[in-house]
């Protein structure tokens, strides 16, 4: 996994709560058996005026000029500023894959849906929860000044604005550790293989019905 330490990038403000994973990447694009190539279809139904189809050249499609990511000032944005309950709905990891493929590295919101939040960390994306009033302030600043950038430091757990104002955020230690070092967490878990085996042996004794049934 790609490590995440610090990041500075242009902020795109998406002023809408309850953005669901169907909105982030509609189901017709989930038919791929790969992890890459979802970027052109990120927010497909909001971003384009026509209905998106898999294996289509999206560069030829009519854009919705009202959608935030289609505005020239947000070109190259890598920090998505969002509203509450971002990523609600399905468990599809295609949602963080699409955000990542588009070029986002950080998503800031007052709250995230649990599964989406977790999936981000598996893909080198950093979801940051900030208080609603701070998010409001960032929305105002991002909309007021073109080229507005935020600087995120995962080691220090801070988000800094261009004026030098800094906000701290919480992230649990294990996720932070894996992200800072780009660790393969399967490898980390397998360091405890003996422990898993001994748990399993004990369960085979106490709950034998959990093993081998139906085969």
């Amino acid at each position: 996994m790609r490590a995440f330490t610090q990041h500075q990038g242009i902020v795109a403000p998406m002023d809408r709560s309850n953005v669901d994973t169907d909105m982030i990447i509609p189901k017709q694009f989930l038919k791929s058996i790969k992890r890459t190539g979802f970027g052109p279809n990120l927010f497909d139904e909001l971003r384009y005026l026509d209905e998106g189809k898999p294996d289509q050249d999206s560069s030829q499609r009519p854009l919705n000029p009202d959608f935030v990511l289609n505005q020239p000032r947000y070109k190259g944005a890598s920090v998505l500023l969002a509203r509450s309950n971002f990523g609600c709905g399905s468990s599809r990891e295609h949602a963080p894959w699409a955000l990542d493929d588009y070029g986002f590295r950080v998503i800031i919101a007052p709250s995230f849906a649990d599964i989406f939040y977790n999936n981000c960390f598996k893909n080198g994306l950093l979801p940051i929860v900030l208080e609603e009033k701070i998010v409001d302030k960032l929305f105002q600043e991002a909309e007021a000044s073109e080229g507005y950038k935020l600087t995120v430091d995962l080691e220090a757990k801070t988000v800094a604005t261009p004026s030098g104002e800094s906000f701290g955020f919480d992230v649990d230690d294990f996720r932070r550790h894996c992200l800072l070092h780009g660790l393969d967490d399967i490898g980390v878990t397998l360091e405890d293989a003996e422990l898993i085996k001994s748990y399993e042996d004990q369960r085979r004794q106490t709950a034998p019905w959990l093993f081998g049934a139906g085969r």
Binding site: R16, S17, N18, D20, D22, M23, P26, K27, Q28, L30, K31, S32, I33, K34, R35, E45, E51, P54, R83, S84, N85, C88, G89, S90, S91, R92, E93, P96, S111, A113, D114, I115, N118, N119, K122, D172, D173, F174, H177, D184, D185, I186, V188, T189, L190, D192, A193, L195, I196, Y199, E200, R203, A207, P208, W209, L210, G212, A213, G214, R215
Partner: protein, 472 residues
């Protein structure tokens, strides 16, 4: 010290290692696999040269992409080549790694969350995961069950464990008796309407109270299924006689001494009387009416006797904008009566409501009646091949067909429209599924979430009606 909640008990029984940083390794008893969220996980295993940790903990079936007509041709009958590759890839992966798969032609094929319980592959007290957020369904059996992303599917395949942080405990109690014509679906929609789509975020919800205890396993599954729509990855109901009766005699269920030992353990799977919850919500079951969603989020629900809300009366500006946006997308007017919403299609199916009891409820409403001529389509999609054959043995298929509904083959179908079953732009659908997000059932489609009985009543009327008026 306070007693343990059901969630605490399940957590403790599956704890392999508590790490110093607050994370924990939790052992997973069962993983269900389907074609959409597993290919990249199997590919990851291959790239890292890893093998599945415990083959017999996995059970697979294709469900999201499968057609619901013309199934005699099997995989070859999937017209969309991209869908076909996904279903074929699941088959190849299961064959390569030796994982049991109910393939498209197998009568046991169906929606993962229907076949797990049906086979007894879902047993009380298990930890169950699947790359699908509606895995919360299995919590109806006193399981710790939740959806995971594809990286975690790979993690469970490789290690039989997940790295987890413990959630908070939430109790939703539904007291009293439900009225006639009010089902588990109405209960869960009413709960989501009350607590909101983020009301359970960060929590494992236990559903309890007399109204929940009186529900069948099908009703409990419907409620736990939609815990995720209230923001909670996990929904649960304590084990009782109803649970144990359902599990008994199923293909994967234990027998003999193992059964007796299992039942003894399962009887402990309830929250202790002195357990403490971080959050408690109470509803009066008698006050719950048949529900209809009017908007583009599952919290946007109203009683069938009610009206579409007026955004002008909402004080919170973000919520007001949300209502305005939803009404525009849904093509509805503020204050419009719910029963004035005209429908184009009716969909009875999905992991929320495609079990035998759901089909019986729907059939009892349409029996001897005809689908409204104004509808373009009304379809019934059973949750599995076995549900289908059971329904046919009971003659339900004939009741549906005579009333003018289509009788289809099992799969996820129009719940998320990954196969050919979808809404056209602007079409209104009474749907027994779980999500009314924009475009969920087809580009520009307008979904109204309802119970099977309400969907059946709507199919007869061509618009929403209070199903209680049709029940004698």
């Amino acid at each position: 010290m306070a007693g343990k909640t059901l969630y605490d008990k399940l957590w403790d029984d599956h704890l392999v290692k508590q790490r110093d940083d607050g994370s924990a390794l939790i052992y997973i008893d069962r993983q269900l696999l389907h074609e959409v969220t597993s290919p990249q996980a199997f590919e990851g295993l291959r790239l890292a040269n890893r093998k599945p940790w415990r083959i017999d903990a996995n059970l697979a079936t294709p469900d999201h992409n499968v057609p619901t007509t013309d199934r005699a041709k099997g995989v070859e009958g999937i017209v969309d080549p991209v869908s076909r590759i996904q279903v074929e890839t699941l088959g190849k992966n299961c064959d390569e790694f030796g994982i049991l798969e109910f393939k498209i032609m197998d009568q046991r094929q169906g929606i993962v969350h229907v076949i797990g319980p049906e086979q007894g592959a879902t047993l009380p007290g298990m930890t169950i995961v699947c790359g699908d957020s509606h895995t919360s369904t299995h919590g109806a059996f006193g399981c710790l069950a939740h959806g995971i992303g594809t990286s975690e599917v790979e993690h469970v395949l490789a290690t039989q464990c997940l790295v987890q942080q413990k959630m908070k405990n939430m109790l939703v109690t539904v007291n009293g008796q439900l009225g006639k014509g009010v089902t588990g679906k109405d209960v869960v929609l009413a709960i989501i309407g009350k607590i909101g789509t983020a009301g359970g975020t960060g929590h494992a919800i236990e559903f309890g109270g007399e109204a929940i205890q009186n529900l069948s396993m099908e009703g409990r599954m419907t409620i736990c299924n939609m815990a995720i729509e209230a923001g909670a990855r996990v929904g649960m109901v304590a084990v009782d006689g109803t649970t144990i009766d359902y599990v008994k005699g199923r293909p994967f269920s234990p027998t003999g001494d193992a059964w007796d030992a299992a039942v003894k353990y399962w009887r402990t799977l309830h929250s202790d009387l002195d357990a403490e919850f971080d959050k408690v919500v109470e509803l009066d079951g008698a006050e719950i009416m048949p529900q209809v969603s009017w908007g583009t989020s599952p919290e946007m629900v109203a009683d069938v006797t009610g009206n579409v809300p007026d955004p002008a009366k909402e004080e919170d500006p973000i919520k007001r904008e949300g209502i305005e946006r939803a009404l525009k997308y849904m093509g509805l007017q503020a204050n419009q009566a719910i029963t004035d919403i005209m429908l184009d299609r009716v969909f009875i199916g999905s992991c929320t409501n495609s079990r035998i009891e759901d089909l019986r409820e729907a059939a009892s409403v349409v029996q001897g009646r005809k689908v409204a001529k104004s509808l373009k389509q009304a379809m019934v999609v059973p949750g599995s091949g076995l549900v289908k054959s059971q329904a046919e043995a009971e003659g339900l298929d004939q009741i549906f067909i005579e009333a003018g509904l289509e009788w289809r083959d099992p799969g996820c179908s129009m719940c998320l429209a990954m196969n050919a079953d979808k809404l056209g732009q602007g079409e209104h659908c009474a749907s027994t599924s779980n999500r009314n997000f924009e475009g969920r059932q087809g580009f520009g489609g307008r979904t109204h979430l309802v119970s099977p009985a309400m969907a059946a009543a709507a199919a007869i009327a061509g618009h929403f009606v209070d199903v209680r008026e049709l029940l004698n």
